[in-house]
Symmetry: C2
Subunit: 369 residues, 2 copies
């Protein structure tokens, strides 16, 4: 990308693909003088939709990384050219602060792990968040297990999201459970709480005690599964990406429902979100052919999620905190025998604004990109 001034007042951008003039109003509504932009918050203190459409550029020059403009309404402003380049690359910018996604299956060589650092302004936190966004999960070792530290952990990245399960929840076998997670049963790989609106973005699971021989954690990359289905079973992919199913949670105090595709695509047909939780899933009554196709597709998806090809399995030890992208990564656990000892995890949810917001902040701080 290269910037150029023509006739002293037209700003042109040349890229490998095309050559275009930057619209004067687009620049004008980014003018950053203290009369226009609150310097503490970077918020406009005027409504840009009230700007006259006749405003153009009176004169302009470039000095090093600075584009200096006088607009016809008298506004003088300068723009960092490197920032303009970034903003003009919309596609990259829309990817957010974590641009690389590495899809994985059971051949994943090394589980993404970082060491806990109680200073959340540290490079370890930056690395942790990078890995999380790249792999859809990360294990943080040696996180303190006292005093429900998970809440502090979550709030040090962003803000924990309380639900009707509480600010955090204890996952152990109890008699009066309101979810099968609170039994020693095997749990199929699933995403959490697809019945919530909005669905929680990130799940934290912190191992406090794990004395049993079973109770292994299982994970599978839902995006890898989705791509596999797209490649090998295109008809299945079509029905899974076009059928909204209902998910439902019931207890004595609340009835939660939400709808969504098992594999949701965005407007550009890229993978957006995976939902898989057959315990609580209700497909609407489709015509016979579509319904049978859906059932076959769901069966295939379920088989892949438990398959040696895609599933990884490992045991959490006390202090391990597993942070998972709940829109991408499915998790489960093997059954265990509660008579062997305690198995106690603590869980909680945070959202992408927390993880991405902190990651952008740490990028700014360390000047990493």
């Amino acid at each position: 990308m290269k910037i150029e001034i023509i006739d002293n007042k037209k700003i042109f951008i040349n890229t490998s693909k095309n050559n275009f003039e930057i619209h004067p109003l687009w620049l004008r509504e980014r003018a950053n003088t203290k009369e226009l932009i609150d310097q503490l918050t970077e918020q406009r203190i005027y409504d840009p939709s009230t700007l006259s459409e006749t405003i153009t550029i009176k004169k302009a020059n470039i000095i090093e990384d600075s584009l200096n403009i006088e607009f016809t309404d008298g506004t003088l402003s300068n723009f960092k050219i490197s920032d303009l380049y970034k903003e003009l690359d919309t596609e990259t910018m829309m990817k957010g602060p974590a641009k690389i996604k590495t899809l994985w299956n059971s051949q994943l060589n090394k589980i993404p792990i970082t060491n806990f650092n109680k200073d959340f302004e540290s490079k370890e936190t930056f690395e942790m968040l990078k890995k999380f966004h790249e792999y859809g999960f990360v294990v943080i070792k040696n996180v303190p297990t006292k005093d429900n530290y998970i809440v502090n952990f979550a709030n040090s990245i962003g803000a924990i999201r309380p639900t009707n399960f509480g600010v955090y929840f204890d996952v152990k076998s109890i008699p009066e459970y309101n979810d099968l997670a609170y039994t020693p049963m095997h749990l199929f790989p699933h995403t959490d709480n697809p019945y919530r609106k909005p669905v929680p973005c990130i799940q934290l699971l912190h191992c406090i005690e794990n004395e049993v021989s079973g109770g292994h954690s299982t994970l599978v990359d839902g995006f890898a599964i989705a791509n596999h289905i797209k490649e090998k079973f295109n008809e299945y992919f079509d029905i899974l990406t076009s059928t909204k199913v209902r998910f439902r949670f019931v207890d004595k105090d609340i009835i939660l429902e939400n709808w969504g595709e098992l594999i949701e695509l965005d407007q550009n047909k890229n993978l957006k979100q995976v939902r898989y939780n057959t315990k609580i899933e209700y497909v609407p009554h489709l015509d016979k052919k579509s319904l049978e196709l859906f059932y076959n597709a769901r069966k295939k998806m379920g088989e892949l999620c438990c398959s040696n090809e895609f599933e990884i399995k490992f045991k959490l030890v006390p202090g391990d905190l597993l942070m998972m992208d709940n829109h991408r990564t499915l998790h489960g656990r093997t059954a265990y025998d509660p008579k062997e000892g305690m198995r106690h995890l603590q869980g909680g949810y945070i959202d992408f604004d927390s993880s991405e917001g902190k990651l952008r902040h740490l990028e700014r701080k360390f000047n990493f990109k």
Copy 2:
């Protein structure tokens, strides 16, 4: 809708539109015996994707509201016919528990108001949630103003959603603000926090003190605005519903960004969400014609949002709690002079799973529909 058994083993549904057989597997995965469904949680304790596709119905009969089926795998189950009818009406079911939306403009005769009842299991709460979902806002009178009661209020409906502004936040004029809300300036009608991922669904604003002569609350129905634009300015509607813009919040600890259309439609082209917050909005650089169309469309939207035709204005008094659908209703306030006295609101966010989950629960409790 009418149910019928044919040949003792085929279940048919006749509606005014069509006549179809219910798929045996669709019924089978809804079989609710205690071997199949956990009776506490209504969750399946098996993976329905492992059911054999050869299962059919061996015999069936109907006794009053009960459809009784023996499947070929030996499973015996009965189904409440009235529940089946409900579930087969997918379109209605997808609308959620609040099916009526009443759009409004400044001609709205009566602001939707309910009286506070500290028993949140009450009919008042049911009425409040109904009105909220119908109008996109409701004012609850006489909510206690001590001890940050807003948190208790939110958690009595569902769960408050903390953000980097805190579990709740105080809206008053302060010198070290990180958002223009914390100044006495006029605030254009806007939706809150479009830079969050996900965007908060519901905003609560609780008036603690309001001694100033200005500082009136303004509200506008974003869905009414969107429909007006669709009707009168179709080209504007197209660009507003097809252009994702970037929203951004910055302070020393966090950088939040998210993208979305000013008017977002769902897959069926129904209104889904409105975002309007020009202080922090950045449209990507489109081609000249599209960008100018966008600017004109945004200007029109801004004008309508402040217009006598659409905007309502009223003054909150201490104890008033304004609950707003942040995906539909825009809010603002007129400027005020902090020298006249205190103006103190407390704000917080909750999500639709809270409001809808509680509403479904109260419908069940009172058997209302």
